[in-house]
Amino acid sequence: MTSTTTALAVPPDRGRSPWQDAWLRLRKNRLAVAGAVVVLGFALLCAFGPFFAQSYQVQNLNLGATGPGAAHWLGTDTLGRDLLSRILYGGRISLLVGLVASFVALVIGVTYGAISGYAGGATDRLMMRGVDIMFALPFTIFVILMMVFLKEPMQLLDAWLRNFDLLGVRPFANLQGVGKILLLFAAIGAVEWLTMARIVRGQVLAIKQMEYIAAARTMGVGSRRIIFRHMVPNLLGPVIVYTSLTIPAVMLLESFLSFLGLGVDAPMSSLGTLIKDGAEKMEEYWWLLVFPGGAFSLTLLSLNFLGDGLRDALDVRSSKD
């Protein structure tokens, strides 16, 4: 009796939530941690670096392209602009496009896929045929059409933003081409959500058949609780993994669009445009390719490591022990 009471008196170990489990697992994965540190570090540099670095647009034609040195740590480009600040500024745009467009894709894709999968039947078929049709549209033409038709309104928005006057202060006066960037977000997001929707729908269909869902249902758990308590945690793994892969894909897409003249406008740069320009001149000025390319590859690699780590940490089924 006594022994039983003592045992009961000892406060039991608090159960760890699945999120704590995941966090512990992630912390054990060194590559993922390194990836996270690099991505975060680069993101912070890009976010705050430009406030301290030299201007990304001031040119010095007399200086021209110079290699790395004391005045310009990573050298200058052919128009004499500081490469370090251009990389930081470009990284800002690239990360922003990557994150925002992926987020747009995530929101649309998950919602669409979940509804389609959960509803099933005719709704599902209809919604998925819609996705098939979107898939059949040539992406480039779609984006070009969007860029062409929305160019005028975006320029108006741009002008309005820059002249926006709040009690004599014009907070956006120096922002150039914001409209174009918003358009980029929308265009890329509008295309990238398709795969996400399919993945989520597939997951939802599979999870719907699981015994624990059936069990929850027989115990009288409501739909909302089933979705958020039982389905979403099981969906998160693939969604996070796919999102972490979407970000680099979107960043690549952005550089491709820039190449077609549909991306960010000069004098702004994204990592993609910097690499493109550098590649053309690599025989003469190696630093124009090596530094932006290095920064881009490092970021993508880190994002992939982080994504892998997140999958290992979050995939509930493969990590149940």
């Binding site: 034609l61 200086l63 110079t66 290699g67 052919t78 128009l79 002008a159 053309e280 001149k281 000025y285």
Partner: protein, 577 residues
């Protein structure tokens, strides 16, 4: 004239001054550069060693060409057609001038008109009537004699509206030609073209034109062999495939041997050519090579005797390592921006002039292009047939001050309130660098912020045609050596104006110049017209091109000419011992 619609920009692109190399003065830079050059050189060496170990030394195209007198050059993209009456680009001309010959030919050194199919000519009627005496020994490649009727037939073909020859307006110089082409006159006999006998061709002009003979060297004036065309269908059907190996009958120093789509066009010496004794080349291979960098690699690999262009970044290394192979020739071609006068901000002449003054042309030429180009403060390149527009070179700081003042006068002090302006250029490394440099100059010095955008070449042509641009990069190369070849494109009725600018005074000055034979008076009229053009500033000239390319020392007779024309019959190869 319309020929040049595509010609100049093509030109510019093929010449595309690839990569700038503005590291000149900075020692640190050149050291860094030397290091990188060494790295690439050793990489190439390594690749070369591996390749050689594999297959041993083979004779390159250039070496075998030197042995057999076969010239290897590139034409850029593959040609669409070899019909001289439909040709539009400089590349077309490079091939066609081997296959056809007009009434007159060009002197290989200064391109002045010399006897071609016509052995001689008389000018009568105060410069209105040209009577050409054709040489009896002129032959087509199938052996038929080249007759005056062949020329009359060719001109009629060009002027037939059904053919829709893009350069037909070049023939409007002939009396009645414009009416016939625009179907206001159905009777071809009313056109000033007469062939009284097989050896005599009489052309009556609409008005005296001193540059008439020089203009005869455009492909649209070349004769065609009508019987052989009609064997393959209607002569005025654009889909007629007569201009193919085995079918094409030409009268030039070479005949068409083969055309391998996407690879090369091969021409061989024509035994039927009247001056075959002068022709020393046995043949020419025109290779299809896209991109200046690819072309330069092909040259280095011994596949080409010469290139069309050279990336600006390579100028320095050629200057150091193979100075004899680098050539910087003058060229009558101007890089300029067209302004769309129907756009709100650009409607104001002060704004247009301010934008023009706000460009530091010397910096662009000296720091970005670096190929001996001239800063352009006028549209016509200096020294175009004894004509030079007098420009007062002022200090750039003074220009900027004037520009700022003009902007303020226009109601946009420091660029405030100016409607958004977009600068559109066709995608090319150099065009981008210049556009970005100018964008920054305008932002820094004038406070004018613009957007720059690029499109692929054909899209910019479409934007130009439909007026869907604010500022558009353009270039114009002369079709013949005369200021009119430049200034005529901004006449009100020109098919190449595209800016929305028109000035009756300008038109009148040019028309008067076209009818004046006295050089000094003519130049004064051109000067008056050009002053009007520059004051109204529907265009912003930026720089005058030069032709930068590399050429093997074995190629002889390749003279620097202002139009980049090189009559092949006086070119030969001579391998150094």
């Amino acid at each position: 004239m319309a020929a040049s619609q595509t010609l100049p920009a093509d030109h510019a692109d093929q010449r595309g001054f690839g990569n700038p190399d503005p590291s000149a003065a900075v020692i640190r830079a050149s050291r860094g550069k030397a290091r990188s050059v060494n790295f690439w050189r050793s990489l190439f060496l390594l690749v070369g060693v591996v390749a050689f170990a594999g297959c041993g030394k083979r004779e390159t195209l250039v070496e075998s060409g030197n042995r057999t007198q076969v010239l290897h050059r590139s034409v850029g993209q593959d040609l669409k057609d070899l019909d001289p009456h439909l040709a539009t680009t400089a590349a077309d001309y490079n091939v066609l001038s081997a296959l056809f010959e007009g009434l007159v030919a060009e002197d290989p050194v200064d391109l002045h008109p010399v006897p071609g199919v016509a052995a001689s000519w008389d000018v009568t009627d105060g410069g209105l009537t040209y009577t050409f005496h054709l040489r009896p020994e002129a032959r087509w490649s199938n052996g038929d004699p080249v007759t005056a009727q062949d020329f009359a037939n060719a001109f009629k073909r060009v002027l037939t509206p059904a053919l829709a020859a893009p350069n037909a307006p070049a023939l409007y110089l002939i009396r009645g030609a414009e009416d016939f082409h625009k179907e206001r006159e159905k009777d071809f006999a009313k056109v000033g073209i007469a062939a009284p006998d097989a050896r005599t061709l009489r052309l009556t002009l609409a008005h005296p034109t001193p540059s008439f003979l020089s203009q005869l060297n455009q492909a649209v004036w070349f004769p065609v062999h009508l019987a052989s065309i009609e064997k393959n269908g209607s002569a005025t059907d654009r889909a007629n495939t007569w201009a193919r190996p085995g079918r094409l009958v030409g009268n030039g120093p070479f005949r068409l041997e083969a055309w391998l789509t996407g690879q090369e066009i091969v021409v061989t010496k024509a035994a039927t050519y009247w001056d075959a004794a002068t022709v020393r080349l046995a043949g020419i291979h025109f290779h299809t090579i896209e991109g200046v960098d690819t072309e330069e690699r092909a040259y280095r690999a011994g596949q080409l005797h010469l290139t069309d262009a050279l990336p600006a970044g390579k100028i320095d290394s050629y200057q150091q390592e193979a100075p004899g192979q680098l050539r910087i020739d003058p060229l009558l071609n101007t890089f300029f921006y067209r302004l769309n006068l129907t756009r709100p901000g650009l409607r104001s002449v002060q704004v247009r002039r301010a934008l023009s003054l706000g460009i530091d042309r010397n910096a662009i030429v000296a720091k970005i292009l670096r190929g001996g180009q001239l800063p352009a403060r006028a549209f016509t390149p200096p020294g175009t047939a004894s004509y030079t527009f007098p420009v007062t070179a002022t200090d750039h700081a003074a220009e900027v001050a004037t520009a700022r003042q003009l902007l303020a006068e226009a109601g946009y002090p420091d660029g405030k309130g100016l409607p958004p302006i977009e600068l559109l250029y066709n995608t090319s490394e150099n065009h981008r660098l210049i556009a970005e440099a100018i964008q920054e100059m305008w932002r820094r010095d004038l406070g004018v912020e613009i957007r720059v955008a690029s499109q692929e070449f054909n899209s910019t042509l479409e934007a130009r045609r439909s007026g869907a641009y604010d500022i558009l990069r353009s270039s114009w190369s002369a079709d013949y050596i005369d200021p009119a070849s430049f200034l005529d494109i901004f006449r009100s009725d020109s098919g190449n104006n595209f800016t929305g600018w028109s000035s009756p005074e300008y038109d009148a000055a040019l028309t008067a110049a076209g009818r004046t034979a006295v050089p000094a008076e003519r130049n004064a009229l051109f000067q008056k017209a050009e002053a009007l053009l520059l004051a109204a500033a529907p265009i912003i000239p930026v720089y005058h091109y030069t032709h930068v390319f590399v050429i093997r020392p074995e190629v002889k007779g390749w003279n620097p000419t202002l139009l980049d024309h090189h009559p092949y019959k006086t070119v030969w190869l001579e391998a150094a011992r």
